[in-house]
């Protein structure tokens, strides 16, 4: 921190725009606050254009500054730009009530305009002007219109109006200031000095110019006078301001007088919970107590255990003390309504799972009496931390909207709104827009942007740029990358959060401005969840989870358990079933929640989960944090007994040798969870609670403002000083960095592990229902329908194709033909047919139920549109009526009434036409399969690769299934369709491929060198043969790629497969390029 310089003059900067004045301000709020503090400025007024989006961040920065006794104040203000020609005003509410009027004013303006705009008039302001300290910001040209406006403003406001004057080093500055001074004099609006700040230091001018270009969509060469002439719009010290305004006595001093009159601070927005209706004669806490104890009885029908009794009593007392009962009642009400009225599956996640009261209320599903689960309520609510509780609840993803509508209906739109998500500049977008602004060609910016993989990453490394054939040292490239680097992490726009609601007792628009979202009838507030948390407002997260939808759907198909229990909730599933763990240990987890990814699948056989807590670890360990912190291998070694379980200890003079044992006991001395890292900081590195909290906060916003490094030294030095191995300390901190915003706290991992277990149980015992419900909940998860179906077939489920007579819209279960199989047969639904509409399917199902028998019935009386019929025919859904794919298509096309009639309209007056029989060529099997893939993305007839098995055998390619019988290090080739391509950010330059043939799948690892040498092929091939070396370890088989052969052309051969003798394939230039299978690429 810069030493504060002493100043004889005091000055408050009352006109500072942050980068939340999008594409105008060129500094983060915290940069302005910290910068102004260093200059010895008494107060900084944040006024973004018609927005309060940045004020909380400034307030947080101010709060977190060390208290030196003369700490800067961050004033909450706003620059109002008007649509009716009124000069811009800088407005500072003088108290809480005036602040409420300001937010209401902004809400009025934003609701009136489109998303991200605000339309205000002078009349609007007058309605909300009481208590606002108002500075008039003069326009460039001081014409008569401005004089008239100023007269009107000062006349109608009667006091508390000032005229803001800045010295921007423009032409005739002093003349302008003199004119302003005399205008101020005649209009009773005293002149006050500001610097109209756009950035904290002059070195941001280049970035600000580039922002101007992005805003004006022009290049820097074209921007001309739209740019600022100089770099003067930065923060200036009181002494400098006094010098600049030496001829205008009082102008600088006045700024401090105004600042001192601002009696409002965001800290005053202490949350007032919405009052929940309680039965007459009871208080909120009494009602909550009743509900909690009733819930305890429901959770423990055999009698509430002593442990629970104690926990509930303790928690309720604390809830009462901190005055949170209304909050719990609110969440309880939402969950109860969803579960009991709407019959929607839901489950709490996050730190709320630490609460026994939440468990009893049915909000969360983590049973605190389980061994291994000594949850700490203090992680959820802490008296010291003084933070409001944060409860996140997942709902079935397809039905979350109903819950959201309930929330709106219950609290009204003036008391409930969705919080914002700040969309930040990521490297690709930053380099692309900066490059464009600097006049680089599209090709160069695209190449530069393409060197960044993934949406995170820390800029564009020179080596990557060089690879694309661009010289990173060329001045124009260097300019672009340097400025793009500065732009990283800037807010770009506000978007609505997926489901975070803020609820208030008084009108919400008196706390924060509410604006329109892009989606119709949606509104969201200007602050994001971090802002809400910092201000201690209450938030409920109504989140969507696809797996809940799938589980709910599978429950509907399940037969009752042996004891007669009908499964309607996750809690009904039998616990700790050894068969489920057996299955997971085999990495047989396609479709299972969370543990179905490639990385998770290769972890399962190594971790060998045998009990519930193992699943908790499994979920948490395959995350960036533990991987970057290099904690995975030590954990696995210790777990399998290859390494002694030791707890790092400080030197004896600094503390008890077992101080970490309590923190790390459950994870064999290796920190895996977010809160373990926090506890490490407190216990081992002697962080204060506040510091640990700051560390946690900067972890969450690490990407955004990069302040995490300030904690680094304290953490590592703190541990090293106390006698810990420096290496251990560094790894711990690396892990904290890796957590970033993806860290998993233990309670969250437990909530997820519950779903892992539940979905694994359904898969193990009812693969038929499991597959059907997953297919009916698409898109979700990691795999495509083809893999889910294949997996079901491998587990003995008979799968039947979509059929016009048998299929519903959804996939259904039918009695199986084979009496020996324990499973029912899975009938694919019409939803598998690409392009087929749900609405049409449902109408069709109704008509079919009324009776359709012949082909003619289906064509003429099914209510299906021409397009719908064609889609069904092309998907081979008429076979049960005796029509081949081509015959069906020929028939439905021929039955059409009017050629060229609206394709999607149902054919009403349709009639059959008698016509001569046309003999169509018979379709070959490979072509059938290709058509199946084209229409439904999967084929039950054969696997595409099976047609090429002979070719592959000639190339000495082994089937994927044969890999498991081969020894480690064997050189081998496998071939298959490329299902998944992954290039995770944590694995430097490594690409993972998943291949599939008719026998199974193979996992391919492609190291950086092999990838770079075969980049095009690896990224584009649909059908690939990989030659390489086998790597077998702990039941995990990888093929390390060395060479590749692209067989993608074979697939198009399949589409053009000969079925009419004598036909010549079209010349290459006339062939349509299309892919039979589309891989899922993650990068």
């Amino acid at each position: 921190m810069v030493e504060r310089s002493p100043h004889s003059v005091r000055y408050a900067e009352l006109q500072a725009a942050t980068n939340f004045s999008f594409l105008q301000g060129a500094s983060h709020p915290w940069e302005l606050v910290v910068g102004a503090d260093a200059l010895g400025i008494a107060a900084i007024g944040i006024c973004d254009r018609n927005s309060l989006a940045g004020v909380v961040r400034a307030w947080i920065a101010q709060r977190d500054l060390p208290d030196t006794g003369e700490k800067i104040r961050a004033l909450t203000g706003c620059r109002l730009d008007f649509a009716d020609g009124t000069p811009s005003l800088l407005v500072y509410p003088s108290d809480r009530e005036a602040y409420g009027r300001l937010t209401r004013l902004l809400t009025v303006g934003q609701r009136r305009a489109k998303k991200a705009a605000c339309e205000l008039t002078w009349a609007d302001f007058l309605d909300h002007a009481e208590g606002q300290l108002t500075l008039v910001a003069p326009p460039e040209r001081l014409d008569e219109a401005f004089e008239a406006s100023l007269r009107r403003i000062s006349g109608e406001l009667r006091g508390d109006v000032w005229l803001a004057a800045a010295r921007r080093y423009g032409p005739r500055d002093l003349q302008r200031l003199s004119r302003l001074a005399s205008l101020a004099e005649t209009n009773g609006a005293p002149m006050v000095a500001t610097n109209d700040v756009l950035y904290h230091g002059p070195e941001r001018r280049a970035l600000q110019d580039v922002l101007t270009c992005i805003r004006e969509t022009c290049t820097i060469q074209e921007a001309g006078l739209r740019l600022q002439a100089n770099a003067e719009r930065h923060l200036k010290s009181p002494t400098e301001m006094a010098r600049l305004f030496a001829r205008f006595p009082g102008a600088v001093e006045r700024s401090v007088e105004i600042a001192e009159r601002v009696g409002f601070d965001l800290g005053q927005l202490r949350y007032e919970y919405p009052d929940e209706p309680v039965p007459p004669g009871k208080t909120a806490i009494q009602h909550l107590r009743d509900l909690a104890w009733a819930g305890a009885d429901w959770r423990y029908p055999q009698g509430v255990p002593e442990k629970v009794r104690k926990l509930v009593t303790y928690e309720l007392d604390l809830i009462e003390k901190l005055d949170y009962p209304n909050y719990f009642l609110t969440v309880h009400d939402i969950v109860r309504h969803a579960r009991d009225e709407l019959k929607i599956l839901c489950q709490g996640r996050g730190s709320a799972a630490n609460s026994c009261v939440c468990y009893c209320l049915g909000v969360t599903a983590v049973d605190p009496t389980k061994e291994d689960q000594d949850l700490l309520f203090s992680r959820f609510i802490s008296e010291n931390r003084g933070e409001p509780p944060d409860i996140d609840v997942d709902f079935e993803h397809e039905r979350r909207e109903e819950v959201m509508q309930y929330v709106y209906g219950r609290y009204g739109r003036d008391r409930a709104a969705i919080v914002a998500t700040v969309i930040h500049y990521r490297p690709r977008m930053a380099i692309r827009q900066v490059g464009k602004a600097l006049g680089l060609t599209e090709d160069i910016t695209a190449s530069l942007a393409n060197t960044v993989w993934g949406s995170y990453g820390d800029g564009v490394p020179d080596a990557h740029i060089r690879q694309t054939g661009i010289d990173p040292d060329a001045p124009e490239i260097r300019r672009a990358t340097t400025i793009a680097q500065q732009l990283l992490g800037f807010p770009r726009h506000l978007s609505q959060h997926v489901g975070g609601y803020v609820l208030t007792k008084r009108r919400l628009d008196e706390t924060v401005p509410i604006g329109n979202a892009a989606m119709k009838d949606r509104t969201f507030i200007e602050w994001d969840k971090d802002d809400i948390e910092a201000l201690q407002l209450m938030k409920v997260d109504v989140l969507a989870l696809g797996m809940l939808t799938a589980l709910k759907r599978s429950f509907d198909m399940l037969p009752p358990l042996e004891d007669g229990t009908v499964i309607t909730d996750i809690a009904h599933i039998p616990q700790e079933d050894a068969a489920v763990y057996d299955m997971l240990c085999q990495a047989d987890s396609v479709g299972v929640f969370q543990v179905e990814s490639r990385a998770q699948m290769s972890m399962l056989p190594r971790l060998k989960p045998r009990k519930f807590y193992d699943l908790v670890v499994e979920v948490a360990i395959v995350r960036p944090g533990p991987i970057q912190g290099d904690m995975v291998h030590p954990y696995l070694r210790r777990r399998s007994g290859l390494e002694p379980v030791e707890f790092p200890a400080p030197s004896p003079k600094h503390g008890h040798k077992d101080e970490l044992k309590t923190v790390l006991r459950k994870t064999y001395g290796v920190p895996l969870f977010q809160e373990q890292a926090m506890r490490l900081a407190i216990t081992a590195a002697e962080f204060s609670d506040d510091e640990a909290d700051g560390l946690r906060r900067s972890m969450a916003t690490f990407r955004a403002d990069g302040r995490l490094w300030t904690y680094r030294e304290k953490f590592i030095e703190g541990m090293a000083r106390r006698g810990y191995a420096r290496d251990f300390a560094e790894r711990c901190f690396k892990q904290i960095e890796g957590f970033g915003s993806y860290g998993f706290p233990e309670s969250h991992a437990i909530s997820f592990a519950l779903l892992v277990y539940a979905s694994a149980w359904v898969k193990r015992h009812h693969p038929d229902a499991f597959c059907a419900s997953l297919l009916n909940s698409q898109p979700m998860g990691f795999y495509q329908p083809a893999q889910l179906v294949r997996d079901a077939k491998e587990h003995g489920v008979e799968v039947r194709p979509p059929d016009v007579q048998a299929s519903d819209w959804d996939c259904t279960l039918e009695p199986a033909d084979d009496p020996r199989t324990p499973y029912r047969a899975l009938r694919l639904g019409l939803r598998q047919i690409k392009g087929f509409k749900e609405k049409e399917a449902l109408e069709f199902m109704e008509r079919r139920a009324a009776g359709l028998a012949t082909v003619e019935d289906y064509v003429l009386r099914s209510g299906l549109s021409r397009r719908g019929l064609e889609l069904l025919a092309e998907a081979d859904a008429f076979r049960s009526l005796g029509l081949s794919r081509r015959d069906a298509l020929w028939t439905v096309k021929g039955m059409a009434d009017e050629v060229g009639a609206e394709k999607t309209a149902p054919l009403v007056a349709r009639q059959a036409v008698k016509e001569a029989q046309v003999l169509l060529p018979f379709m070959s099997q490979p072509k059938e399969v290709a058509e199946d893939y084209r229409t439904t993305s999967l084929s039950l007839k054969a696997h595409p690769v099976s047609f090429f098995r002979q070719d592959l055998a000639r190339m000495r390619v082994v089937p994927c299934a044969a890999l498991k019988d081969l020894p480690d290090r064997r050189r081998v080739s496998v071939g298959g369709l490329v299902l998944v391509r992954q290039r995770p950010g944590t694995a430097k330059g490594v690409v993972f491929l998943t291949l599939e043939d008719e026998t199974g799948i193979a996992n391919v690892v492609c190291w950086k060198d092999a990838f770079e040498a075969n980049r095009r092929l690896v990224m584009s091939a649909a059908f690939l043969v990989v030659h390489g070396q086998l790597q077998v370890a702990e039941g995990v088989i990888h093929l390390v790629a060395e060479r590749f052969t692209d067989l993608s052309a074979k697939l198009s051969e399949m589409r053009d497969h000969e079925d009419a003798p004598g036909a010549r394939p079209p010349p290459p230039h006339a062939r349509m390029s299309s892919k039979l299978v589309r891989s899922r690429d993650f990068h």
């Binding site: 100089n230 060529p921 379709m923 009419a1060």
Partner: protein
């Protein structure tokens, strides 16, 4: 946000790497990072195709454009000039190949059949009259110029050859694939006529006068220049056009042609004015043994609204009849790049804030968005091309105006001053590492005791005692 960029066309090499038209540019670049792309210029492509069509007139007057990349030539009754279709086609191929153009071609009875053969059969196929059905039969349905959606459907039914389509009865065929498809089939087989839109050669703005007796006297030449101009201008007027450039050509009896050209700053068609502009140049024309023909061509023809002849002589002269002729005379006398007008260019840097524009061109033509100079930011009437160094400058730090300076050996004591106006460097013109916040100029408007006004600036800021900032004089106020 602009639309997704896609590849419009790929070279053979790129196609071999798996790239194809319609692919997203970003995908293509991810596959082939070293891919070189150029912006598609559909208009330029169309122009090139048009030019090729005009060139083809040497083979047949009836040429139709089949956008975006094809041409139809109706060679009915012209092939005998080459002794038949085969020699004609080979001459055609030879000439195209000599020009380095890649092509495929075919000759058939109908445009449809020729199109099909050129696209899908062996290059250079010539269909024997009446026997094209056999040649078309093995071609894929796409050869019938069907809509993409239609031929995909046709092929999906297993109908992969035109022959299979020909075998289907007309009723069922039309019901399934639409009447348009049937029309295409009929057109290819000659069962239905197809009208092509033939391109007629462009009509040049051209006039010609021939004389019974060769002329050579200068006054005769001036007169015929006027006559030929009057003839062309009459045509321009009837069509509401004017031209910016006229080229007269005197054809001597010995076969030599002597061209002269003049340009106008506004499109015009006044023969007297045009002749007047030619007049001073006529002396450079050596008539030799006499001139028998004079031609005049107009270029840069564009529409102008016809103006009524003036009825009211008292009206003020407009640019068109006052300044424009003067400018034209100056330009034609001095040369085009010597007559210009200062126009605003948007830049904060004073010496970059003015550019040269054509004297009478509307502002929109020179610099589309440039705003006029700001009257509130005074600039000297005379701005030095290079600022001149000042010496002995006395000024208070950090940024007070100078109280005294010496310029060209003379000391000026400042009586009044205004400033500074601070102008930063155009940082994007140098290396980003060289961008410094003290790279700036502080401009002052000062008046000395004699009342002379100067525009001077200090480059850089006071601060580093080792490198004191320098002072310069950049201009004088009138």
């Amino acid at each position: 946000m602009r639309a997704v960029r896609r590849l419009a066309a790929v070279s053979l090499e790129a196609a071999r790497l798996g790239l194809h038209a319609g692919q997203k540019a970003t995908d293509a670049l991810a596959l082939v990072p070293e891919l070189v792309t150029a912006e598609a210029e559909p208009e330029a492509d169309a122009a090139a195709l048009t030019a090729l069509a005009d060139w083809c007139v040497r083979f047949s007057p009836a040429v139709a454009i089949d956008a975006p990349d094809g041409l139809f030539l109706d060679v009915t009754g012209v092939d005998h000039l080459w002794d038949g279709e085969a020699p004609m086609l080979s001459d055609f191929r030879r000439r195209l190949a000599a020009n380095g153009l890649p092509f495929r071609c075919a000759i058939a009875d109908t445009p449809g059949a020729a199109w099909a053969l050129a696209h899908f059969a062996e290059d250079g196929t010539i269909a024997v009259p009446g026997e094209q059905a056999a040649l078309l039969a093995p071609l894929p349905p796409a050869a019938l110029r069907l809509a993409t959606e239609t031929w995909a459907q046709v092929e999906r039914l297993g109908l992969r050859q035109v022959g299979q389509l020909m075998a289907i009865p007309r009723g069922p065929f039309a019901r399934r694939f639409g009447r348009a498809a049937l029309t295409r089939l009929d057109q290819a087989l000659g069962r239905e006529a197809e009208a092509l839109t033939f391109r007629r050669p462009p009509n040049p703005w051209f006039a010609r006068l021939a004389f019974a007796e060769p002329i050579s006297a200068p006054e005769d030449m001036a007169r015929v220049a006027f006559d030929v101009a009057a003839r062309l201008c009459a045509r321009l007027e009837t069509e509401g056009q004017g031209a910016r450039r006229f080229e007269v050509c005197f054809h001597r009896v010995d076969g030599q042609a002597l061209p002269l050209a003049i340009g106008l700053s506004l499109p015009g068609r006044d023969p007297a004015r045009i002749a007047k502009l030619f007049a001073p140049k006529l002396e450079t024309v050596d008539p030799g043994f006499g001139i028998e023909v004079v031609t005049l061509a107009a270029q840069d023809v564009e529409p102008i609204s016809g103006r009524q002849a003036r009825l009211d002589h008292a009206r003020e002269a407009t640019v068109a009849d006052g300044l424009a002729p003067l400018v034209d005379r100056l330009v034609n006398r001095l040369g085009e790049d010597r007559v210009w007008r200062a126009a605003p260019v948007e830049s904060h840097v004073p010496e970059l804030a003015a550019g040269r524009a054509r004297p009478l061109a509307p502002a929109s033509r020179t610099c589309p968005q440039a705003r006029p100079w700001d009257a509130a930011a005074p600039r000297p009437t005379r701005l030095f091309r290079r600022p001149e160094p000042l010496e002995g400058v006395m000024a208070l730090t950090p940024d007070d105006p100078p109280s005294q300076f010496r310029w060209r050996g003379q000391v000026h004591r400042v009586r009044r001053a205004e400033g500074p106006e601070r102008i930063g460097e155009e940082w994007w013109k140098g290396g980003i590492d060289d961008v410094r916040t003290d790279h700036l100029r502080d401009y002052y408007r000062v008046e000395d005791e004699a009342g002379a006004r100067f525009w001077l600036f200090r480059a850089g800021l006071y601060g580093d005692p080792a490198v004191p900032p320098k002072w310069w004089l950049h201009g004088l106020f009138g």
